[in-house]
């Protein structure tokens, strides 16, 4: 069965600092990988996705993620965090048909000014 691990429950960074959120997955075949962001009181918004090809993918809001098959990882990065990036971030892996996703437990990002 597929699974996703986000080892960091809560991360605090200063505005302007760089950010890396960790995601490790377990899946037998080539995975479909996603990062979603959830602002307080909102649903989830897609940041970026990886299906195949270039292992470094660019997303919205200046985020990027790198797929590393050897490490079963898909970490999310941003070079300079803004206060508006404070939210909860979810990594997800997809399988089979019908776009069925398995989500990690999320990482809550706090940004200090």
């Amino acid at each position: 069965a597929q699974s996703v691990t986000q080892p960091d429950i809560h991360i605090t960074v200063s505005e302007g600092a760089s950010l890396e959120l960790r995601c490790n997955y377990s899946y037998g075949a080539t995975p479909y990988l996603f990062w979603y962001v959830q602002s307080p009181g909102q649903g989830l918004q897609l940041l970026l996705k990886y299906f195949s090809g270039d292992t470094l993918v660019q997303g919205i809001k200046g985020f990027e993620a790198e797929f590393k098959r050897s490490q079963s990882s898909f970490n999310l990065r941003k070079p300079s965090v803004h206060w508006s990036d404070a939210a909860e971030y979810f990594c997800a892996v997809g399988s089979g048909t019908a776009s069925k996703l398995t989500f990690g437990t999320g990482t809550r990002l706090q940004v200090t000014l």
Partner: protein, 113 residues
């Protein structure tokens, strides 16, 4: 832009009541999903549907049922609500073809007393 609308933002129900959570999408998506979100557990799939009148169990279907009579509408039913079903419920939709990202509603926070 895809819009997924959940009919209620907050609901308070009593133990034993029958509860209906409604979700409507306006982009003719074939797939629709119901997830439950709990702190520390991330999102867990309850049920999904890939066509009208079709449904499949997700990871935690016990205590829930669903209905999809029209393509745009997907209802989650709690036949007899219990306090352990107090949670945030998120509806999502996606296209059937390829591996289309999920589009989420803003969620319904259900409290069962």
């Amino acid at each position: 832009d895809v819009k997924v609308t959940q009919s209620s933002r907050y609901l308070v129900k009593r133990t034993g009541e029958k509860v209906f959570l409604e979700c409507v999408q306006d982009m003719d998506h074939e797939n629709m999903f119901w997830y439950r979100q709990d702190p520390g557990l991330g999102l867990r799939l309850i049920y999904f549907s890939y066509d009208v009148k079709m449904k499949e169990k997700g990871d935690i279907p016990e205590g829930y049922s669903v209905s999809r009579e029209k393509k745009e509408r997907f209802s989650l039913i709690l036949e007899s609500a219990s306090t352990n079903q107090t949670s945030m419920y998120l509806c999502a939709s996606s296209l059937l073809t390829g591996f289309s990202p999920l589009h989420f509603g803003n969620g319904t926070r259900l409290t069962v007393t």
